[in-house]
């Protein structure tokens, strides 16, 4: 139950190149990261591998040195505090449960180290165990547990110390589909019940979206966007975030602005297909401009007054139908619950939901706002 503030945090690894006599590498694993996590919030740090998310978590935990910047837990500067003095609970990727101890002893381990009485320890363990549904497992040894069970014990062990902050590093990555879904729901509920400020690191955008109150998206050490799941989904600030969040991914296509009869259109190169530009963008777009057009698959609609396109791929997936369309060199995906069973080669008329179009600068990738 605490506030976490990262202020201009940098992390650089010393990289001694042979023969160059002590030259330090120039690239930052974490580059000028500033975020604030409110008390009780569930924050997800999300990004592809190598983006700096795990490094950030390890700096908060105290397992990595902070090259520059400050980290505060509840107004206390923790840069130089030993991990055990930071009041955090860690549940990291490799379960690291002590094999010869039972689940109960594993969970109690930390408390015993603090010289708590056995009666108090029992009280604490029995308080947390039902929340993570591990009571039946207390007498078992780690070797007898499944991946999902091990992970639940891991988190219980972190929580039993009543930490100010709970840090989870890719907790669901080694679990299969169904187990992941179940544990995701349990984690979400657990967070609501325990109310502990939680930071989760993951490369799975679905996990971050479904669990976190706020998501911090990173790439190459830099913060891309920090907002609620809905914010990063509905209003991505650049092409990277736009293409990273959402399954299936947002359609991001290169288009040129053309004009016909005083109306502006997004025109697809090497084709006659064009989509009318929503009125709100007319002030910022000029004929001849090249931009990246972003539309989510479910914001592309089949409508009688749309532009005709040919279907390249039709997928009947039960709950929904997915249609792939080739326009010149560009490829778009569309999701619909329209019951019609189309075929490859059929022509449909395409329209976009006007308020759900996004435009990005073709060079910088930044969003162009109306």
């Amino acid at each position: 139950m605490a506030k976490l503030i990262l202020k201009n945090v940098f992390k650089r690894y010393d990289d001694r190149k042979k023969g160059k006599g002590g030259k330090v590498a120039d690239n930052f694993a974490v580059n000028d990261l500033t975020i604030t996590c409110s008390d009780g919030e569930f924050v997800g740090i999300l990004g592809p591998s190598g983006c700096g998310k795990t490094t950030t978590l390890r700096m908060v935990a105290g397992l990595e040195e902070i090259t520059a910047g400050e980290i505060y837990i509840d107004d206390t500067l923790i840069n130089h505090l030993h991990p055990k003095d930071r009041g955090i609970g860690l549940a990291f990727e490799d379960y690291a449960l002590y094999p010869p101890l039972t689940v109960y002893d594993n969970i109690a381990f930390n408390l015993r180290a603090k010289k708590m009485s056995e009666a108090d320890i029992k009280k604490e363990v029995m308080r947390i165990a039902p929340l993570m549904k591990v009571e039946e497992l207390l007498d078992m040894k780690p070797a007898a547990l499944s991946g999902g069970q091990k992970q639940r014990v891991n988190i219980t062990r972190a929580l039993v110390r009543r930490p100010k902050l709970l840090l989870l590093d890719e907790p669901l990555s080694h679990l299969d589909g169904k187990m992941r879904q179940i544990l995701r729901t349990e984690l979400k509920r657990l967070h609501k019940e325990v109310g502990c400020t939680t930071i989760i690191v993951t490369h799975d955008q679905l996990e971050a979206m479904s669990l976190a109150d706020k998501i911090c998206i990173m790439k190459d050490g830099l913060l891309q966007q920090f907002g609620t799941p809905y914010e990063v989904y509905d209003d991505p600030v650049n092409v990277f975030v736009a293409g990273f969040i959402g399954e299936p991914p947002m359609n991001l296509n290169k288009v040129t602005i053309t004009e016909e009869d005083n109306i502006l259109y997004f025109s697809f190169p090497e084709s006659s297909v064009k989509i009318a530009v929503p009125p709100k963008y007319t002030k910022v777009l000029k004929t001849g401009m090249h931009v990246t057009l972003g539309i989510r698959p479910n914001d592309l609609l089949i409508a009688d007054d749309g532009s005709p396109v040919k279907i390249a791929v039709f997928e009947n997936l039960g709950d929904e139908k997915r249609i792939g369309i080739r326009i010149g060199e560009e490829y778009l995906t569309l999701i619909t619950s329209d019951e019609t069973l189309y075929k490859q080669g059929d022509v449909i008329r395409l329209k976009v939901r006007e308020d759900k179009t996004h435009i990005f600068d073709i060079e910088t990738g930044d969003k162009i706002r109306a």
């Binding site: 169904k178 879904q181 509920r189 959402g246 791929v313 997928e315 709950d319 490829y331 999701i335």
Partner: protein, 379 residues
Amino acid sequence: MANIELKNVTKSFGKKKALNDISLQVHDKEFFVLFGPAGAGKTTILKTIAGIELPEKGLVKFDGEIVNLVEPAQRNVSMVFENYALYPHITAYDNIASPMRSPLYKKDEDYIKDRVMKVAALMKIDHLMDRLPARMSNGQRQRVALGRCLVREPKVFLMDEPLAHLDAKLRHFMRAELKEMQANFNTTTIYVTHDYMEALSLGDRIAVINNGQIEQLGTGDEMYYTPVNEFVARLFGEPEINIIDAEFVLDGGNKGVRLLNQIKSFDIPEDVYDALVATGKTQFHIGLRAIDLSYSFERQTEHDIHGQVYSIEPIGNKAVLNVDVNDSILRTVSPPDLNAEMDSDIFVSINMKNAMFFDAESHELVVRHNQAQYTKAVK
């Protein structure tokens, strides 16, 4: 181009029966999917067809001829392995060219170059031809493996989870690519996956495998609309289908099913009613897909089921809303920005049109509305 048949095939590894009396037939030029959870036996079936594994019992036939004793190399099949199995010490070009340099399928270097570059262009890896596998990403290796499989024209393509180790975004694109290519494959293809979307999208027919046995064999529609049992029903659809107890109610003139804590039971279509009566039972399991459930924060009718919000998980353009009803969880969908207090009251209503009824003991499908429309489920 071949018709592949497995007849009563049994295969064990030590004490474990990997395949238990499996019989299936793959038609010429069909794209046939083997679908099921990990460890079900799908890869074993593929390897049995390839000749890499030999069954203890049963026959493997290509075009009617028994090939049990034919060496893998002689069977003229091409395979993509789940872990790619690329030759680590040679370049991508040489990997893809390899099948055409073997004594059995030898071709001259000009022909090889033409075919390899064609396949490389198709897989969009033409710029990687001189690289060694160790210097490629997972996605690139997968495409080299696929290229090596597609470069020849064998009797059958065997693909073992070719998209399994790719990240979600790449998987999405590769699946669409495969589907586009599929139209041009002139060859029987047998494809293994544990991802139901791949199965539904790519398969002409699907065989659901579990514990070495075929649960159901049929088209994607048959699987989705008339699964032969609860196990198959759970495999298709995201979020997972809801399966709960249903009580068949015959009192007074009230013909319907009562679920959970309903005040008034649901009416059911005639054909469903007739089938349920015919069984003579009153306790069933009902399967309801998330999209057939709707919710409201106020009671709308007496049919509504009363529960509490358990959790809301936004997943992009929608959210999975979990409702707790007497310790059973009902899954439905909602807009992603739905703001509801945990444990607050909520009422769920159901569209019975797509409901499926299963026998409470055998878990097999008893009936669903308009069943004939989706063709009878075949085992």
